[in-house]
Symmetry: C2
Subunit: 316 residues, 2 copies
C-alpha cells in the first residue's frame, strides 16, 4: 500500500493539539556568530522544550491523537533516552499507562527521568532483539499502542511543529537546517517548511561518523547505520520507511560534520548564546564550519534539538 506522508495540515493540527502542554520555545540570535559565518542565523531552542528536547512534541501529539478507547490501553515504546521520557511525560499528562522498555545500560539520568514521570520501565539486554521482543510481550499482554520514536506519522507531524513556530516568527527564512537521526525532526521540518513556502531550502546535517542519511540520499534508498562513531548520541539510528521518502523528496542536501566541528559549534553556542545544548544539536551549526560562507547573506533557521548534555563530561 502506498504511504501517504503527513501534510502541512497534519502539522498544524498537531500544533493545536500540543499547545496546552508543550513550550513555545524561544528563538535566539547572536551577532558575533552571524559575523563569523556572514549569514543571519535564527536558533530555535528545543533545549527549552519539555524534557529538554523536541521529542516531546511528537510524543505529545501521538498520545493526544489517540481515541479514548485506544488511550485507555496505554502506550508503549522502547527507548534508551529522550523519546522514552517524552512519552512518559505525555502519557502522564493524559493520565494513561506508559510502558518503556529500556536497555539495562541506559544512563541513570535517563532511567530516573522516565521513572520520574511515572512510566513503567522494563529493563532488558542492550540489543535491538531484546528490546523488540520485550516490547512485543508488553504489547501482547496489555494491548497498549506502540509509539515508535520516529517511524510514525503522528510523531513526524508533531516534530514539524518546531519549524512551524519558527516560520511563524520568521517568515522570511530562506533556509531551514536540522540534525538527522531517525529522520523524525528532519521529515516533520520538511513538511512544515515546504508546505508554508515551497521555495525554502531544507538542509540536513549529520556527523561524518554516522552518515547513513547522507549515504541513503546519494543511493536513493535507505542505507542502515552500522557502527556509528560520534559523540552526537542522538543521531545514531537509521532512517525509517516513513521518514526517508519525505527526506528524499524535500531535502536539498545533507552536510556531514567532523567531530572537531561539532565540538567547536557546541562550545560557541554555549559561550555566545549562554545555553546548554547537547552534541547532537551542535551538528547544525557545525555544518557551516565545514564550509564557513556557504550560507553567506542568507537568513537561516537552525533547529537546536535538545539540551541533555552531560555536564561532568564536556568534550572540550
Amino acid at each position: 500500500m502506498a504511504y501517504t506522508p503527513p501534510s502541512l495540515a497534519d502539522v498544524q493540527c498537531a500544533a493545536e493539539r500540543i499547545a496546552p502542554y508543550a513550550n513555545r520555545t524561544p528563538v535566539l540570535t547572536s551577532s558575533s556568530i552571524n559575523k563569523m559565518v556572514r549569514a543571519n542565523l535564527y536558533f530555535k531552542c528545543e533545549n527549552f522544550q519539555k524534557v529538554g528536547a523536541f521529542k516531546f512534541r511528537g510524543a505529545c501529539n501521538a498520545v493526544f491523537s489517540l481515541s479514548i478507547e485506544e488511550a485507555a490501553k496505554g502506550v508503549a515504546t522502547h527507548s534508551s533516552g529522550n523519546h522514552g521520557a517524552a512519552l512518559a511525560l505525555a502519557g502522564s499528562l493524559r493520565n494513561i499507562p506508559v510502558h518503556v522498555v529500556m536497555p539495562n545500560n541506559a544512563l541513570n539520568i535517563k532511567k530516573d527521568a522516565v521513572a520520574g514521570y511515572g512510566a513503567e520501565i522494563t529493563y532488558c539486554e542492550p540489543t535491538l532483539d531484546a528490546r523488540e521482543s520485550n516490547l512485543n510481550k508488553i504489547l501482547d499482554s496489555t494491548g497498549a499502542i506502540m509509539i515508535h520514536p520516529y517511524n510514525d506519522e503522528r510523531i513526524i507531524a508533531g516534530q514539524g511543529t518546531a519549524a512551524l513556530e519558527l516560520l511563524e516568527e520568521y517568515p522570511k527564512l530562506e533556509v531551514v537546517m536540522t540534525p538527522i537521526g531517525g529522520g523524525g525532526l528532519m521529515s516533520g521540518t520538511c513538511i512544515a517548511a515546504k508546505g508554508i513556502n515551497s521555495k525554502i531550502i531544507v538542509v540536513g546535517t549529520e556527523p561524518k561518523g554516522a552518515d547513513d542519511a547522507y549515504q541513503s540520499l546519494n543511493k536513493g534508498e535507505i542505507v542502515p547505520q552500522t557502527d556509528p562513531q560520534t559523540m552526537a548520541d542522538g543521531l545514531l539510528t537509521s532512517l525509517g520507511v516513513k521518514t526517508f521518502p519525505i527526506i528524499k523528496e524535500h531535502v536539498q542536501e545533507i552536510i556531514t560534520v567532523s567531530e572537531e566541528n561539532i565540538v567547536k559549534a557546541m562550545k560557541l553556542l554555549w559561550d555566545e548564546l549562554n545555553i546548554v545544548i547537547e552534541p547532537s544539536s551542535a551538528v547544525v551549526l557545525g555544518a557551516l564550519f565545514e564550509d564557513p560562507y556557504k550560507m553567506k547573506g542568507k537568513k537561516v533557521g537552525m533547529i537546536l534539538s535538545g539540551g541533555n548534555a552531560d555536564l561532568e563530561n564536556l568534550p572540550w
Copy 2:
C-alpha cells in the same frame, strides 16, 4: 544634601528608554527544582541580556539619558568586566565616544568584548588608585561623563527594569531575590518591586566569603568589602552611598551562601534549565540550599544576573 533615590516612575521611564535596545529576557521555571525547594520559583534570565548580563540595562539607560550636549562629549568608566562591555555597547548604539579604564590583568575575553564594541581602552595597574587616577585624567581631558557601575541613579533605575518586567509577567510573586555586589541590581529591584506592591518581600543574597552587604545591613552603615574570597567574581565590590540607603530601607534579609551551595545551585540550573549562568547568578538559588524550605509554598522571583561563565574552568 539629602539623597533622593530613584522612584518607580524612574524605573518605568528607564524601561521605555531602553526598550529599543535591550532584550526582554525570558522567565524560566523548573518543576523538579520547585519540588526540591517546595516553592514556585521564577527565574528571570539576564544571561540572555545583551552583553550577557543585566549590566546592559543600567548602562543603556545612563547613556540614553544624556542630553545631546553631554552625549557629544562621550562617557567614561573604569571596569574589569561586564559594566565596561555594557557601556561600550550602549555608547556604540548612541554613536558616542566611550572610554574604559581597564586593569591590565583583566581577562582577555573581557578586553576583547570592550574593544569589540569600539570603546577606547586605557590599561593601567590593577589597583583602585591607578584606575581612578587614569579615569580622572580622561575625564579632565575629554569632558566625558563618568558613569559609575552602580553608584548612580540612572544605573539603579535601569537595573530595576529586570524586576519590572518580571512582575509585569508574574504579578502574584510574593518574594523577589537578587544577588548583591555593589547593590545596583538589588536597589533597582527594591524600587521596582516595592513600588509595584509594597507587600512584596525583597531578599538579598551574597557569598559567605564576600558578605559586606550582610554586615552593612546588620550594622546600619556601609561596611567595605576587604579581601573577598569567593568564585562569584561579580559580587566582590562594596556597596555605594546611593545603593545602601535603598537596600537598608527595603531589603528584609540578606542570606549568605557557602561556595559549596553556589556550585550546587549553578550546576542544577545548568542541568535543569539548560542555561549557562555564571557563579554570581547562582547565589540566589544557592541561598535556598542554606535553608531548603525557607520559601515553602511561596511564589518567588529570582533574578539570574548573567551568563559570562568560563567554560574551560567549571567549578565541578
